[in-house]
């Protein structure tokens, strides 16, 4: 039985080789699918993963985007079934495939969210996906100049310096000169709301160092940059009076973007032990936090205090965001 089975696989592999060298990609795609079902039944995951990875690449590199993306989805499906550990190597492969599918292929989004979902396997800390996979994905979107999605994935990565370099690029190309300090402030505050103070500090250091329009500091010429510099220090000390005083002294700068207040309320809770706001405000903050969170994940709330909305509503909000993000 076993030999008959493997002989069958052998035959299909030969046919596949012929189809590929003849450039018959439609047939090749069907044969890959046949092999997928056979290997899956035999639980030969290792072989199947290699086959689907090389098959996806082959089809994608030959402009068979839809069938290539189909194999990509089989690949991530098998990853889930196999005991393959989450590694840099596999995450690199996943992001390579995302890059090869390219923008404009509907299956890509599905593949991307499945890849992120798989990447949290064994690490309950990463609810929206493994930071390293977010980083690779961010770089792909950056390369494609899809700044919105690149921003989102950098924010869930620990690569603050690449994010900073991208911000310099966005600001110098598309921002107003007066916003030079706003671009980095926004991102530092967002990182802090996601509890990621190390990456926030990395992004700040790199941006202020590399931006051609910022005179070296600290201290900086821009009050808002000094605020962020002090804020990062205050977080280290955890002293609430220092934090509130800073917010008061820099209010004119902070008022330049009305969203900063809500970020800072959240930061006060995370790093300075301020009690959560009253329910009404908490609802608003919860929503804001929810929007910062992953549109791909089903688990939206990284917070200990879930917003008042029902989980059903959460899900539909996320779906809306995912649509808006595209």
């Amino acid at each position: 039985m076993a030999t008959r089975r493997s002989a069958g696989v052998e035959r299909v592999l030969n046919k596949l080789g012929a189809a590929v060298s003849a450039g018959n990609f439609y047939e090749a795609h069907q044969l890959y699918r046949t092999l997928y079902f056979r290997y899956l039944m035999q639980e030969k995951y290792k072989e199947l993963l290699d086959l689907l990875y090389s098959g996806s690449k082959l089809l994608l590199q030959n402009e068979q985007l839809t069938s290539g993306a189909d194999l990509c989805n089989l690949y991530v499906d098998v990853l889930g079934k196999s005991s393959e550990p989450v590694s840099d190597d596999v995450m690199k492969k996943l992001s390579e495939l995302i890059g090869l599918i390219g923008p404009g292929v509907p299956e890509r989004e599905n593949f991307l969210s499945n890849a992120l979902r798989w990447s949290v396997k064994g690490s309950p800390d990463f609810k929206t996906g493994h930071p390293q996979l977010h980083r690779f994905i961010a770089q792909i979107f950056w390369r494609e100049k899809n700044y919105v999605l690149a921003r989102y994935h950098f924010l869930h990565s620990t690569d603050g310096s690449s994010f900073a370099m991208m911000l310099v690029e966005i600001h110098t190309r598309q921002g107003y000169p007066s916003e030079v300090d706003l671009f980095i402030t926004q991102v530092v505050l967002q990182y802090l709301c996601l509890h990621n103070k190390t990456t926030a500090a990395d992004a700040f250091r790199c941006y202020t160092l590399k931006h051609p329009d910022i005179k070296p500091g600290p201290p900086f010429l821009e009050p808002l940059l000094n605020f962020i510099w002090f804020l990062l220090k205050a977080i280290e000390s955890g002293k609430l009076p220092v934090f509130t005083l800073l917010c008061k002294k820099y209010k004119p700068s902070l008022d330049r973007d009305p969203t900063y207040t809500s970020y800072l309320n959240k930061i006060a809770q995370i790093f300075f032990g301020l009690a959560p706001q009253r329910p009404r405000n908490q609802g608003f903050l919860g929503n804001l936090m929810q929007l910062l969170n992953d549109p791909h994940s089903s688990d939206s709330d990284e917070d200990e205090h879930p917003p008042k909305t029902s989980s059903g509503q959460n899900r539909s909000n996320q779906k809306m965001e995912a649509e808006e993000l595209d």
Partner: protein
């Protein structure tokens, strides 16, 4: 309770005080209303919030 004018000095590390004092002057010079924000900047906000601001 709001600290008295000089009381705030005691809360902060002393080397921050001159910088914050200088920034206070700089911030006064800023126009009261911020110029409209660029689309590139607004794109960094969570989508719903963006709608509220624009």
């Amino acid at each position: 309770p709001v600290p008295a004018p000089e009381a705030w000095h005691r809360i902060l590390p002393p080397e921050w005080v001159p910088i914050i004092a200088r920034d206070a002057t700089r911030q006064q010079r800023r126009p009261n209303s911020q110029a409209p924000l660029s689309d590139a900047y607004l794109a960094g906000m969570p989508p719903k919030r963006r709608k509220v601001v624009t």
